[in-house]
């Protein structure tokens, strides 16, 4: 198993630990690609703070910068790292203990 998987998941969880970055990612996920200026108009955060968080998110691979209109940089969410983190959460959430308890109860009832 590549070590990268854990590093990717760690970056996602670190990014999501900050409420401002969660708000930025949520805005990009719900509204589509946007510039730092667009985001500053929609969130109660200064453009400078948004730019700083976007740079961090881009470094972590969670958003991707792309050329927008009039050479303004737009950012879009990159879902691949989220999906890696989701796999980690899926493993933690897989509840075989309760499932096997249910099977045992079912068998005992039918006996």
């Amino acid at each position: 198993m590549p070590h990268d998987i854990e590093a990717i998941a760690e970056q996602v969880f670190a990014a999501l630990a900050d409420p401002t970055r969660r708000a930025i990612l949520a805005a990009l996920a719900s509204g589509g690609p946007a510039t730092a200026t667009d985001l500053a108009g929609r969130l109660p955060i200064t453009r400078q703070a948004i730019a700083k968080h976007l740079a961090l998110l881009a470094e972590a691979g969670l958003v991707q910068a792309e050329a927008g209109e009039r050479r303004r940089v737009r950012y879009r969410v990159r879902s691949a790292p989220m999906q890696v983190a989701q796999q980690f959460l899926a493993a933690l959430a897989r509840d075989w203990d309760s499932t096997l308890d249910a099977l045992t109860d079912h068998l005992d009832r039918g006996a």
Partner: protein, 144 residues
Amino acid sequence: MAFPDRIERTVEVAHPPATVWAALTTAEGLGAWFGNEATIDLRPGGAARMRWNEEGFTAEMRVERVEEPTVFGFTWGIYGLPADDPRRTYVEFTLEPAGTGTRLTVVETGFAQLPEDAHRKAYDGNTEGWAKELAELAAYLDAA
């Protein structure tokens, strides 16, 4: 490694393997204890489906191993990923006689699976990865 790729549990039940096998591999059994409704085409490559009414969730499974009454394996999607994500985990139940009962082991693997070029794909994330990922899924399913 903190990232769990494999989950394994063993329970002993006071019922013979044939009884446990029926609970694991029939629509009536699966619908009674696992989900609320189930359908299953019990042969390698066969489709199975389970529905949880309360959660409004349906799992699509593909039967992979059928060795009555000792091994039953299937793959299913990873909860939380998009429905068309090709990654799947493999679940295998193994039944061993234990006295008059059964030792039942369930192993689920593949939570950490990523293609070999995971790093590039996770960071470049372009759509050209899809064809390759689907080919890898096909290879994975054929090998399972």
